[in-house]
């Protein structure tokens, strides 16, 4: 099933500001339609994988800038950034998914999202598309293979022969201590 629609012209948008605008427009239309079905997702790449998150949670896209390291935190916690006067923590998704730290450069991208009333940033390689997906187009994750990440993945979508894993940020970032669910507990 590959009639998930793609926002036209996403490839042409280079700058974070442009991306933010496109996403804001997408979110606005999602809100207008009541955001039930179909849903809109922002997809991004980390290494060879592609993931999608609910567009309604995305606030803006920023280029990677220097962060201030917080001492004694898990490695995927890169540090904090100043977002117009608000302190925002930045999580390295590559590290989070067990592929080592991102060697961040100016071309890397931080997606600012809002989860559980908190504003956080996730560091990814690039933002790819805005997808419109119907609920029936999301297939469940086969349990066996993805047991590690299955807890926060809600399903898979096939799009133009690519597979996008639909992610629940709310499950990825647990509410109580804003702690990532413990990967190491499951590590084989």
């Amino acid at each position: 099933m590959s009639d998930t629609s793609v926002q036209a012209g996403m490839d042409d948008i280079e700058s974070p500001e442009g991306l933010t605008k496109a996403i804001a427009a997408g979110a606005a239309s999602a809100r207008a339609s009541g955001n039930l079905d179909p849903q809109q997702f922002v997809s991004f790449t980390v290494g060879a994988e592609e993931y999608g998150i609910d567009i309604m949670q995305v606030r803006e896209i920023k280029g990677w800038t220097e962060v201030t390291l917080l001492p004694n935190q898990p490695p995927h916690m890169r540090g904090v950034m100043n977002l117009r006067g608000v302190i925002v923590p930045i999580y390295d998704m590559r590290a989070r998914f067990g592929q080592g730290m991102t060697e961040a450069t100016a071309t890397h991208v931080v997606i600012i999202v809002q989860v559980h009333d908190k504003t956080v940033g996730i560091l990814v390689d690039a933002v790819s598309d805005i997808l419109t997906v119907r609920n029936d187009q999301i297939s469940p994750i086969p349990e066996v293979e993805y047991s590690e990440n299955a807890r926060f993945l809600e399903g898979m979508v096939t799009m133009n022969e690519r597979m996008v894993a639909v992610m629940s940020l709310a499950k990825l970032i647990r509410n109580d201590a804003l702690e990532f669910t413990d990967l190491t507990a499951d590590a084989a």
Binding site: N72, P74, N82, V88, M101, K118, T119
Partner: protein
């Protein structure tokens, strides 16, 4: 109805304030030495709550306050003498009113048993000869001296001040009430009324002369005007029956006016009037009367103001920074302007912060009630002493203090304080003491809750901790470490969960809450002698004076108020005690050294104190310690930003700020730091270490992430476990 709810909200807020104020007055009431003004104030408070209760149909509250007010009324006019029984009844009555108000707030039906008991006692006092029934609505005619019976004629002059309406008074209501007293003739004086184009819609220009024929006393009449006595001139004069004429020749009877400054003696008329001048201006400076000119402001608005001033401070720092970067050009002029700007900004900030400062009294005042209730429940005899209630603290902190204080006091009463029998057996005075104190120290507020109970039962705590897996069975923690176990999540030694302290959520929630505010709480205990909790909190949440220091490639802020001095110790003064403990000597004292480079795992920092700097600071928990840094970068006023808001609290860090460069810098939590342990092993020789790229390093443990992606996480897991162990 939503509109109505808004008024209800105001009623609740006002009632809370009145009850808080009244609680203070009632607890100070000493039958042998009291000021009648206190009784008047208590009466007015209850009366006001009664009025609101009636309006919103809170029937139990209205009914109780009605009777309560009667008691207070009789006490203040002298027909009933204030003795200890009455004083205690007043305290009880206020507790009940408070309960009823709370029930009304939550929309639930209140428990009436306590109220019924109190009502019975009140009746016993009011009517000791048994005939309990009193007519519900009419207050008792009290003026015994004038109770000859028969109608009297009064001439009443009522001249309201211009501001009358702005204090929510309506003359029509007074007139109506007077009418119920008997036969009323009304003469209005509109001479002060200006032309219609000059009228201020909210001002009062009319005054009245009434002639009232009634059996009621002058005191009753004065009561009608009770609530406008500050905003108006009121003269009440009895004229002989039938003679309603010019009062000029009659000797005035000044008895009846209810004045704010009343003692038992009759007082002259309130003085605000300038004869003939229509302007009345603000109501009475009646001497003792606490006529606080204040306004109620939405806290959100103040928060906005505080935030904006905070941003102003940051911007001002940026300007200063940029000016520094523009080397040379027109420098001296800029410097002066910068200085003035900095001065004005600082003043503005102080002024704005002062708006939100409030005495801790408001939160302390909830404690006596708590102690009373719990002592009764637990059959313990406790005297609560409070000191330093006027110490001021930011309002947002005050709200957050209530729960922690409650938990600490409950903890004391439940676990610490012994029963009277136990105390007698231990040779202690039967009445236990809890002391609550607040004071300013080193730019922070320090609140202590001490009891003279049995102290922490360390054996019990230890065994419970082992049972819960918090410590190993064979471990040997120090006394201090055992004491701190009470802050562990889920900890509780109460045999069953009672609603007092047993649930075990108390102390760890206290610690978390205080830490989230940027403060800390420690406990000290001596078996058999007592326990002491010490809470420290920043005075304001928003701004602090900081010293920027560099450690490797990182910059941190040390609160200026904690800095004692900065030194560069000589090598010979530095002593290594063991792998994790260095000290240096300063004027005969040996102070512990804290290496930020180790505790925070910063690479490339100076690790030899004799080549860097030691900032000597004062901590609440560990006394004086020396923080090893690379250099001092300068003093700066910084705006505190919360890390908690979007992340969580970080050990050793009390908050963050944004420097003039736009960069985020962490503000050190000195007490927290002094309790952290360093994670990385002692570096053997850091001199060659120039590696600062944090991408391939994780918490000081180097990994080659290209070849072994798992190494990162194994290292992280190791660190995390270590962290947990250190926290326990």
């Amino acid at each position: 109805m939503a509109q109505f709810d808004q008024f209800k909200q105001t009623f609740f807020e006002e009632s809370d304030e009145l009850l808080l104020d009244s609680a203070g007055r009632a607890s100070d009431l000493d039958p042998n030495d009291y000021d009648i003004e206190e009784l008047h104030a208590l009466f007015r408070a209850v009366h006001t709550i009664k009025a609101g209760a009636g309006a919103f149909k809170f029937t139990e509250l209205a009914g109780f306050t009605h009777k309560f007010e009667t008691l207070l009324d009789r006490l203040r006019d002298g027909t009933l003498t204030l003795d200890q029984t009455c004083a205690d009844l007043i305290v009880r009555g206020l507790d009940i009113v408070s309960d009823y108000v709370d029930a009304a707030k939550n929309g639930i039906a209140p428990a009436t048993d306590q109220a019924d008991a109190a009502l019975a006692d009140i009746n016993a006092v009011l009517d000791p000869d048994g005939a309990a029934a009193a007519p519900a609505s009419q207050p008792v005619v009290k003026d015994a001296a004038k109770a000859e019976g028969g109608a009297k004629t009064y001439k009443i002059r009522f001249e309201p001040g211009r501001q009358l309406f702005q204090f929510a008074n309506e003359p029509l209501l007074f007139i109506r009430e007077l009418k119920t007293f008997g036969h009323l003739t009304v003469d209005v004086d509109a001479s002060a009324l200006p032309a219609i184009d000059q009228i201020e819609a909210e001002d009062s220009y009319l005054s009245w002369q009434f002639t009232l024929v009634t059996e009621r006393s002058a005191a009753d009449i004065a009561d009608v005007f009770e609530f406008v006595v500050d905003d108006a001139t009121i003269e009440i004069e009895e004229v002989t029956a039938g003679r309603v004429g010019d009062t000029a020749e009659r000797p005035r009877d000044p008895l009846v006016v209810e004045s704010a400054t009343a003692g038992a003696h009759p007082v002259a008329l309130p003085v605000e009037t300038q004869k003939g001048a229509p302007a009345r201006g603000t109501p009475g400076e009646g001497g003792e009367k606490s006529n606080v000119t204040s306004i109620r402001v939405d806290l959100d608005r103040i928060d906005r103001l505080v935030n904006m001033v905070g941003e102003l401070v940051i911007t001002q720092a940026m300007i200063t920074q940029q000016a520094r970067d523009v080397a040379g050009k027109g420098r001296s002029q800029q410097t002066q302007a910068e200085e003035e700007l900095a001065g004005h900004t600082r003043e503005l900030q102080d002024a704005v912060m002062a708006i939100r400062m409030q005495p801790v009294k408001s939160v302390f005042m909830r404690m006596p009630r708590l102690v009373r209730d719990l002592s009764r429940k637990l059959n313990k005899n406790v005297n609560l002493v409070m000191k330093g209630e006027q110490t001021e603290v930011d309002k947002t902190i005050i709200e957050e203090l209530a729960d922690p204080l409650t938990h600490m006091v409950r903890n004391s009463l439940d676990h610490g304080i012994e029963t009277p029998e136990q105390r007698r057996a231990a040779g202690k005075p039967e009445v236990a003491e809890i002391i609550l104190s607040a004071e300013h120290r080193h730019g922070r507020i320090v609140i202590q809750a001490m009891d003279d109970g049995r102290g922490i039962d360390r054996d019990r705590v230890r065994s419970k901790a082992i049972e819960k897996g918090l410590i190993a069975a064979d471990s040997n923690p120090s006394d201090e470490e055992i004491d701190n176990l009470i802050f562990a999540p889920g900890f509780s030694t109460a045999a069953e969960v009672t609603d007092v302290s047993g649930r075990g959520v108390g102390m760890d929630v206290v610690r978390t809450k205080i830490q989230n505010l940027g403060g800390r709480v420690i406990v000290q205990s001596r078996p058999g002698e007592g326990t002491r909790f010490v809470l420290t909190l920043p005075l304001t949440l928003a701004v602090l004076d900081g010293m920027v220091v560099s450690v490797g490639s990182e910059e941190y802020i040390i609160p200026l108020t904690s800095i004692i001095e900065t030194v560069r110790p000589a090598t010979k003064d530095i002593r290594r005690i063991d792998a994790n403990f260095d000290t240096f000597a300063m004027r005969g004292e040996h102070l512990r050294l804290i290496y930020l480079s180790r505790v925070f795992n910063v690479r490339g920092a100076i690790t030899d104190p004799s080549k860097g700097l030691v900032v000597v600071v004062d901590t609440e928990a560990a006394g004086r310690v020396g923080i090893v840094v690379d250099e001092l970068l300068g003093q700066q006023q910084v705006v505190l930003k919360s890390i908690d808001e979007n992340y969580r609290s970080v050990e050793g860090v009390s908050g963050a700020t944004i420097l003039g460069s736009g960069r985020v810098s962490l503000i050190l939590d000195l007490d927290g730091l002094s309790e952290m342990r360093s994670f990385a092993p002692l570096p053997v020789d850091d001199a060659d270490d120039t590696e600062t790229d944090t991408d391939t390093e994780l918490n000081g443990v180097e990994t080659d992430s290209d070849t072994d992606p798992n190494a990162a996480h194994i290292a992280a897991a190791a660190t995390e476990t270590f962290e947990m162990g250190a926290k326990a």
